[in-house]
């Protein structure tokens, strides 16, 4: 089937791109710094200790051999060990993954449910008060540093008003772990107080993360709808007197949506990137804070592991976006 051929074609690029990413991170971790082993060993190590460590880590072997070994280990899921936690990095990341995903999904749900309808209305009521207000808001939304937004929200809602907690994912004990997502687990176990607590903790970080995504989504949906409104088929439907709500909510939205779907997919990647900084602000126990703490502790392997992981996710998301776009736009299926 042609869809399969298309998917396979896109998939074929996945491996080389991933390898390219690995090469870049390898180069960054081995070639660029003056002496990576010395950095790992720390400042107090003697030259003899550094040499011993070099041999132990295998850094005395030729570079291509090191790279092949690096790739082989990654294929087995071994990202090395964190210098700080002394645990396998892959394990550390997996442990913290649900928190990041919960935050990212919450932000995405908010941006989609609020952003797309606002974008449509903004286009329909072009140059109205709502449209102008939204345009100002979306331009501003993309100009605000998200870590600063997070801090300002904390200042207002947590410190001054006391409506939400300051940071963290939850106070007290988490619900019984089924999915790893606190909200979902709390609902599944009927633990309503915890659900409320988790929701309050999620509020500010999700809002911070969602803000730029929301702004982008409103802009793109607006542009998409305005673009489709110029189409000849819309003109035809108007000429034939089809009721306006049918034209807008069935035909225009559906056409504008094919481009919005692609945006939503890309948004996921952007949100994941934004999660790093947002988690740092709110002490959210996810992958982002792990990366930031690793940076501050010069935990090399951990930072590299995180980079590889984030990059791979991004590539996968792009692939899914491509495939979804193919599915959603029927013209692509037959071409």
């Amino acid at each position: 089937m042609r869809l399969l051929a298309l998917a396979l074609h896109r998939l074929a690029w996945f491996v080389p791109t991933l390898l390219g990413l690995l090469l870049v991170t390898f180069v960054i971790s081995r070639v660029i710094p003056a002496d990576p082993v010395a950095l790992v060993a720390g400042e107090t190590a003697t030259p003899a200790q550094v040499e011993a460590l070099r041999r132990q880590l295998g850094f005395d072997r030729p570079l291509p051999v090191q790279f092949a070994d690096y790739v082989a280990r990654l294929a087995r899921g071994d990202m090395g060990t964190s210098i700080f936690t002394r645990r396998p990095i892959a394990e550390d990341l997996a442990h913290r993954l649900p928190a990041t995903i919960e935050l990212t999904l919450a932000a995405m749900v908010v941006s989609v449910l609020v952003g797309i309808p606002l974008g449509v209305l903004s286009a329909l009521w072009r140059n109205s008060l709502l449209d102008h207000a939204l345009r100002v808001a979306t331009v501003s939304g993309l100009a605000i540093a998200s870590f600063w937004l997070g801090i300002m929200l904390q200042l207002l809602f947590a410190m001054r008003l006391g409506w939400t907690p300051l940071n963290g994912r939850l106070q007290g004990f988490p619900p019984r772990s089924i999915t790893g997502f606190y909200l979902l687990d709390a609902v599944l176990t009927g633990d309503w107080p915890t659900f409320g607590g988790a929701l309050l903790h999620l509020a500010l970080p999700a809002a911070t993360l969602a803000f730029p995504a929301l702004a982008t989504l409103v802009r793109f949906t607006r542009a998409g709808v305005l673009d489709v409104m110029q189409s000849n088929f819309v003109l035809y439907e108007r000429a034939m007197g089809l009721p306006r709500f049918v034209i807008v909510w069935k035909y225009i939205l559906r056409s504008a949506l094919t481009s919005t779907v692609t945006q939503v997919g890309l948004l996921f990647g952007i949100l994941l990137a934004g999660a790093v900084v947002t988690e740092a602000v709110f002490d959210w126990p996810g992958i982002g804070t792990y990366a930031v703490n690793s940076i501050l502790r010069s935990d090399y392997n951990a930072v590299m592991g995180f980079t590889v992981w984030a990059g791979a996710i991004f590539i996968v998301v792009n692939l899914l976006v491509d495939v979804t776009h193919t599915l959603v736009d029927p013209r692509e299926r037959v071409s």
Binding site: S231, N232, F233, L235, Y236, R238, A239, M240, G241, L242, P243, F245, V246, K250, Y251, R254, S255, T258, D329, P330, R331, V334
Partner: protein, 345 residues
């Protein structure tokens, strides 16, 4: 003629452009009788598409302004009637549309069936008049759906679409240009309209298919007694299927005559030039000297006077009113020509 089905009187339409306000339609008059095919002929920019869209009510809301005049359909002025009622009961019912570009007039993401049946849901002759504005909650009764679908299949057969039931399930891009235009003809006929506005329906098609489509259209409308307002820049096309031809120049209608009389006794200097400029077997090309005027600052009076051999002072001061020369043959000119065509240089 008997009470015209559609009557346009003194229609003025302006367009706001970068360079100023363009006076696109200058008090245009037009009549269409029941069951007649009227061709609206003119060069690009003469305002024929604007006139067609003004009748349909789909001028671009920001850029276009209707400054005055009336468009009477069955005696009711569409420009001053309740817009919701007009949208519900006239558009897609009494007056339907065949667009110029069949390639982009379908939504590309829905199968043809969805779009045709949506049309039938709201515009089928079997639908009642509804009470007031259309509502999102209106349902589509099963019985009527089936009857409508039968009518759709019949009409698709009439426009010679092979295997109509299978065709309905296809996406628009799976059809050729000619087939898509046949679909448009079918959709224009299904609501059993009084008048079809066809805006250059064959311009975007291959020359070889144009004649087919035209003849099909003419056969079907004559069978059903439907009027057609057919805009085109091609005199040959007009000759093919029109009962009557109206010529427009720079936003003014200049001559209107039954087809035979139009070709045998053209009276307006512009019409004569137009007919003379059609390439002939002897290979000579006769242009009309001069250029189409800018509509932002159009010539006063008769807008053709700068290029006209017979222009005089009156032509420059006031626009000539239409005068009857023979039965149903009207000319807006102070110096209509009596000689047979081709006799002036």
């Amino acid at each position: 003629m008997s009470e015209p089905l559609l009557s346009v009187r003194g229609l003025h339409v302006d367009f706001v452009t970068d360079r100023g306000v363009a006076l696109v339609l200058d008090g245009v008059n037009l009549d269409i009788g029941p069951g007649e095919v009227v061709g609206l002929v003119g060069e690009s920019g003469c305002g024929k598409t604007t006139l067609a869209r003004a009748i349909l009510g789909i001028l671009p809301p920001g850029a276009a302004r209707i400054r005055g005049g009336e468009v009477r359909y069955r005696g009711q002025d569409l420009l001053r009637a309740d817009p919701i009622a007009v949208n519900d009961r006239v558009r897609g019912r009494g007056i339907t549309f065949i667009p110029q570009d069949p390639f982009t007039s379908f939504s590309p993401v829905f199968p043809v069936q969805t779009q045709i049946m949506d049309l039938m849901k709201w515009k089928s002759p079997r639908a009642g008049n509804g009470d007031g504005a259309p509502s999102p909650f209106r349902r589509y009764p099963r019985e009527r759906y089936r009857a409508d679908r039968e009518a759709v299949l019949d009409t698709l057969r009439a426009v010679q679409i092979p295997e109509p039931a299978r065709a309905l399930r296809r996406l628009p891009h799976e059809f050729s240009g000619g087939q898509r235009q046949r679909l448009m003809i079918a959709m224009a006929l299904l609501p059993r309209p009084d008048l079809i506005i066809a805006d250059e329906p064959t311009t975007a098609l291959d020359v070889t298919i144009q004649a087919q489509i035209l003849r099909l259209l003419r056969t079907l409308v004559k069978e059903r007694g439907v009027s057609v307002l057919f805009t085109t820049h091609d005199l040959g096309t007009a000759h093919e299927i029109c009962d009557r031809i109206v010529v427009m120049y720079a936003g003014q209608e200049v001559e209107a005559a039954p087809t035979a009389a139009f070709f045998s006794h053209p009276a307006h200097p512009y019409t004569r030039r137009l007919l003379a400029s059609v390439p002939t077997p002897d290979g000579e090309i006769r242009d009309i000297p001069g250029e189409v005027p800018s509509l932002v600052e159009p010539p006063a009076g008769c807008r053709f006077h700068p290029r006209c051999d017979y222009a005089s002072a009156e032509c420059r001061s006031a626009r000539p009113a239409p005068r009857m020369r023979a039965a149903a043959h009207a000319v807006s000119c102070y110096h209509p020509v009596d000689a047979p065509p081709g006799s002036d240089a």
